[in-house]
């Protein structure tokens, strides 16, 4: 889209959503560039949502080959072998996404994201990563934060019937209308590393157990040198041991991280499509909000557990030193 006005085509196509967030926001969306890493089911959902919303471009990264299991929750990958043969996950998804909205530029980037320099990220307005180890998450987050430009950074992970989204908008300023006035808001987000460094004891009592569960599994994978999601129920004894240690270190009761929850997280290495839809939807909204500058963004973790049906926000950060 060139120029400042939405084209007739855009106005017609985006009519219903312009009525939600306005023409201005739509324009900003159409100029935005999103980087997406890790093309599993949840991320596929997310990509569909932002492509339909009319972002400027989406760059996909995932060099894994298409496999049967990848197809199970990822509707962007056509089951037809002829079409997906020899392609990477990113390439297979790219073609489908383009169809959803020809006005969005969808492309593939190859290579090891950990080796890309800071300047690679500069061209993006939002970066969404999934299927990443703890180390990789921290690394990419730091690179994004190093830039003077503000990049909206998100991690998303779904394990079985549970999902987690992390949001880092650095220093985010936005305005909103309160009755007749416009008020200026500012939010300061911690990096992923800083957020999870918050001592467990200092967190509010009712923080979602899922937060702790994910941290234990994350740590376990890190210590064992596993790839993200590379766990099974056989790891339970090791995980329980780690939980014990972490709880002791943090001076919290082990009941904060129930056995049953850890089991579910270990077993749930494949994604559950309805949860992908829910998490992908929430994430889509968040990115749209951050790009358009409209709407209160969530800060800074979102959890969903299909078992109790709750989708909740936790604000987790290191307590400030006075």
């Amino acid at each position: 889209m060139n120029g400042e006005e939405l084209t007739e085509q855009e106005t017609a196509l985006y009519d219903r959503q312009i009525r939600v967030w306005g023409a201005d926001a739509q324009r900003r969306l159409s100029k935005s560039h999103i980087l997406v890493y890790g093309m599993k089911g949840t991320v596929a959902e997310f990509c569909k949502n932002i492509v339909l919303a009319g972002v400027g471009s989406v760059t996909l990264m995932d060099d894994h080959a298409v496999t049967d299991s990848a197809l199970s929750a990822n509707f962007l990958i056509l089951p037809d072998e002829n079409l997906s043969h020899g392609k990477t996950l990113a390439e297979a998804c790219c073609d489908s996404l383009k169809e959803f909205n020809p006005m969005v530029h969808v492309s593939v980037e190859k290579g090891d994201i950990s080796t890309f320099g800071v300047e690679f990220f500069e061209k993006f307005d939002a970066v969404v990563i999934s299927c990443c180890s703890l180390a990789k998450k921290k690394l990419i987050n730091q690179k994004c934060r190093k830039l003077p430009k503000r990049i909206s950074f998100y991690t998303v992970d779904c394990r079985g019937s549970c999902g987690e989204i992390f949001v880092d908008l650095k220093n985010y300023k936005y305005s909103k209308k309160k009755l007749e006035e416009t008020i200026e808001c500012q939010l300061e987000y911690p990096s992923f590393e800083d957020a999870i460094a918050a001592p467990w004891k200092a967190l509010p009592k009712r923080v979602s157990k899922l937060y702790f569960g994910m941290r234990v599994i994350e740590q376990f994978e890190d210590i064992e040198g596993r790839n993200a999601g590379q766990t099974s129920i056989a790891d339970l004894p090791g995980v329980l041991k780690l939980r014990k240690e972490l709880c002791e270190t943090n001076s919290v009761n082990e009941s904060q991280v129930p056995d049953a929850l850890l089991e579910r997280l270990l077993i749930g290495t494949s994604e559950f499509p309805p949860v992908c839809a829910v998490i992908g939807g929430i994430l889509g909204q968040e990115v749209i909000k951050a790009i358009s500058g409209k709407g209160d963004p969530l800060k800074n973790f979102f959890f969903f557990d299909a078992m109790d049906g709750k989708g909740l926000i936790e604000d987790i950060s290191k307590p400030r030193h006075s």
Binding site: E5, T11, A12, L13, Y14, D15, R16, Q17, I18, R19, V20, G22, A23, G41, E45, N49, L52, A53, D68, L71, S72, A73, F75, L78, P79, D80, E81, S96, E99, F100, K176, K177, K178, T182, R206, I267, F272, P273, P274, C276, A277, V278, G280, G281, I282, G284, Q285, G295, D296, L298, F302, F304, A306, D308, G309, K310, G311, L312, I313, E314
Partner: protein, 677 residues
């Protein structure tokens, strides 16, 4: 992650989806990915371009095709066609391009399914499906979205509330005189432009039309107005256009002004004549008009080089659009005139209605609106985004799986909020037990106050049985006598009797319907039966425009005195059921869009949105609470609120959600968020 047992329950399940729109697309995809294999979809719509922003199974090339068929094709291609993979067996998707109310979708049809999933956008269809699911004893998962808000609810006969246990607010209606004489809001002008003027000029001329009815004598002017709206022989279209303009915006206003009473406490409108707004020659100056070829989309905006639908036009520009769109209708679409109904996707119609509404607004000192805004109001457009539909679809499938598992204790009503409430963006609430006074799922009598000498059976059938009770194919009986029924195989002489009955006053029917009698109404397709106790009343006031009042019986709460005793002078202190007025007292004949902002003014935070029902004191929570940290009373209010909001529907006679309205809703909760458009 899904157990073998569960997987086979999913694979063997037969699922009915009603509605293939925004939620429908997301739902079909998620169902297919989740392992469902036998899916049936019913949808009446064809695909429009504005669907493409969220109904991702459709492509530009599909526009015009039946939604049910198109989504099947693409879905199968995308997801289901996979004989090679072991764990993706063939999926069967059966589409029906039809209206859910058709008689073939009867109770037997519904009984075939393990669960029914609604992705509808109108209240009528939802009520209908609700009744069929109750009759067939099939679980129903209902849902709705508007912008960033959404909800999913589960309904099982006898175990939870049915969809109609709490009446959804009826569409907002406006008094006829507000529309014809004393508009004070832009929406009044839209209704006038759309339902009266557009209808008169381009619609069925034989239909009764309230145009030109003023507070003063109407009968003379209506004869005169017949002549006015007919194009005279040898009259140029442009001249005709100006004549209409001057009549409705000039002369009619002058006539209205002559009735001083009306304007005693109101701002007077000013008459507007075309010559004052536009110079005589102006219409000839638009060079573009001649360039409009037959193949172009016929549009006044194009022809006048007005590019941006978001800009508010001046009175002069609106006037030009008015005249130009009228001219183009006659010139390019003459054949359709006499048969047109307003369609929000008809660009020229939207332009005409916008212009007409704006000129009228200008006359009455009401702020003008852009075409974009006017279209939203006139078209009852519900704003929508893909992400919310995706979230809701995910939640629907989660509930559907619980239903298949018979996981009774875990059914949830889930609300998707835009602003978190106590950290929750997705708020699950336990379903409530059925409302004992619901006339749909629990056996409850109703009471109808009516003037039995004046009101005809037709009034009762149309206004009460069809409209209020939502029965499409009713049967009315008094005792053993059938007074009226609708059916396919009725004998001719009975049909004649019924036709005659319709025109009779209630008290003059073969079996007189008088005070104290009980009318039984049934819909055989919905398998719904209702008893209506008749009570004669002489006079009805202005608000009860129908001349009838339908109410229902509610068990009084223990600590209340019986409020209104019925009829025959029994003492107020005796334990009598109190009457509760049903929602949606219709003032008027013209139904149009809702302005929920009116309902919300003066409301404090957290008070529910319904007018009559506050906290549902009758309700008992089903089972024990698992969700400790969610305060259920707040959730109830939230739940009522949400269900009211979400059941806002698209369609001609329905509520709408304006961006501004959404703003007001948030304000009432103390959330403050503004979307400027």
């Amino acid at each position: 992650m899904v157990s073998e047992q569960l997987l086979s329950a999913i694979e063997g399940a037969k699922v009915l989806m009603v509605g293939a729109g925004g939620i429908g697309c997301e739902l079909l995809k998620t169902l297919a990915l989740s392992g469902f294999q036998d899916i049936h979809i019913i949808d009446i719509d064809t695909i429009e371009i504005s669907n493409l922003n969220r109904q991702f199974l459709f492509r530009q090339s599909h526009v015009g095709q039946s939604k049910a068929k198109a989504s099947t094709f693409t879905c199968i291609f995308l997801v289901a066609r996979d004989a090679v993979l072991r764990f993706r067996p063939n999926i069967s998707i059966t589409p029906y391009h039809a209206n859910i109310k058709e008689s073939r979708f009867n109770v037997d049809f519904f009984k075939e399914f393990d669960v029914v999933l609604n992705g509808l956008d109108n209240l009528d269809a939802r009520r209908h499906v609700n009744r069929l699911c109750l009759a067939a004893h099939v679980p129903l998962v209902e849902s709705g979205t508007t912008g960033f808000l959404g909800q999913v609810t589960v309904h099982l006969k006898g175990e939870t509330e049915c969809y109609e246990c709490h009446p959804k607010p009826a569409p907002k209606t406006y008094p006829v005189c507000t529309i014809t004489s004393t508009p004070s809001k832009f929406v009044h002008c839209i209704v006038w432009a759309k339902e009266l003027l557009f209808e008169k000029l381009f619609g069925n001329k034989n239909q009764e039309n309230d145009l030109n009815v003023s507070s003063s004598d109407a009968s003379n002017s209506s004869e005169h107005s017949e002549d006015v709206f007919e194009c005279r022989i040898d009259e140029e279209i442009e001249q005709y256009g100006r004549r209409i303009y001057d009549h409705v915006f000039g002369l009619n206003i002058e006539v209205a002004l002559s009735n001083k009473e009306t304007w005693k406490n109101r701002n007077k409108p000013r008459p507007i004549y075309s010559k004052d707004v536009l110079s005589e020659k102006l219409t000839k100056q638009n060079g573009n008009t001649e360039k409009v070829s037959a193949t172009d989309d016929v549009s006044a905006m194009s022809s006048l080089a007005l590019k941006n639908p978001q800009v508010v036009w001046s009175l002069a520009e609106n006037s030009r659009v008015f005249l130009e769109s009228l001219r183009l209708f006659f010139l390019k679409r003459g054949k359709e005139i006499g048969n047109l109904t307003f369609d929000k996707d008809d660009q020229l119609a939207v332009e005409f209605v916008t212009a007409a509404a704006n000129i009228r607004a200008s006359s009455f000192g009401i702020p003008l609106h852009s075409l974009f805004e006017a279209k939203g109001i006139a078209g009852n457009i519900v704003h929508a985004v893909a992400s919310t539909n995706a979230i809701i679809a995910g939640l629907i499938v989660i509930e559907a799986i619980k239903v298949l598992k018979r996981d009774n204790n875990n059914y949830r009503m889930t609300y998707c909020l835009e602003h978190p409430s106590r950290k929750l963006l997705l708020m699950p609430v336990e379903p409530y037990e059925p409302n004992q006074s619901c006339y749909v799922c629990s056996e409850t009598s109703l009471s109808l106050e009516v003037n039995t000498h004046r009101s005809k059976l037709r009034d009762v059938v149309e206004k009460i049985v069809n409209a209020r009770l939502g029965m499409n194919f009713p049967l009315l009986m008094l005792g053993a006598t059938i007074l009226y029924e609708v059916g396919e195989d009725l004998e001719e002489d009975m049909v004649a009797v019924y036709a005659a009955n319709l025109e009779k006053a209630l008290s003059e029917l073969p079996s007189p319907v008088i005070s104290g009698t009980v009318l039984t109404v049934e819909d055989l397709q919905q398998e719904l039966k209702c008893c209506i106790n008749i009570k004669h009343r002489e006079e009805f006031d202005e608000k009860e425009h129908d001349g009838m009042l339908l109410s229902r019986w509610v068990e009084p709460p223990a600590d209340k005195d019986g409020n209104k005793p019925i009829g025959n002078g029994e003492s107020p202190s005796s334990v009598l059921p109190t009457e509760e007025i049903l929602e949606g007292e219709k003032d008027v004949e013209i139904q149009e869009t809702s302005e929920p902002t009116e309902m919300l003014q003066g409301r404090k935070e957290n008070r529910p949105m319904f007018r009559k029902e506050s906290v549902p004191i009758m309700l008992k929570k089903k089972g024990r609470s698992e969700t400790d940290d969610v305060d259920l009373s707040d959730c109830t209010l939230m739940a009522l609120t949400m269900s009211w909001q979400i059941s806002a529907k698209v369609g001609v006679n329905c509520d709408i959600f304006l961006v501004g309205t959404v703003l007001s809703v948030f304000q009432s909760f103390g959330h403050n968020f503004g979307y400027g458009c």
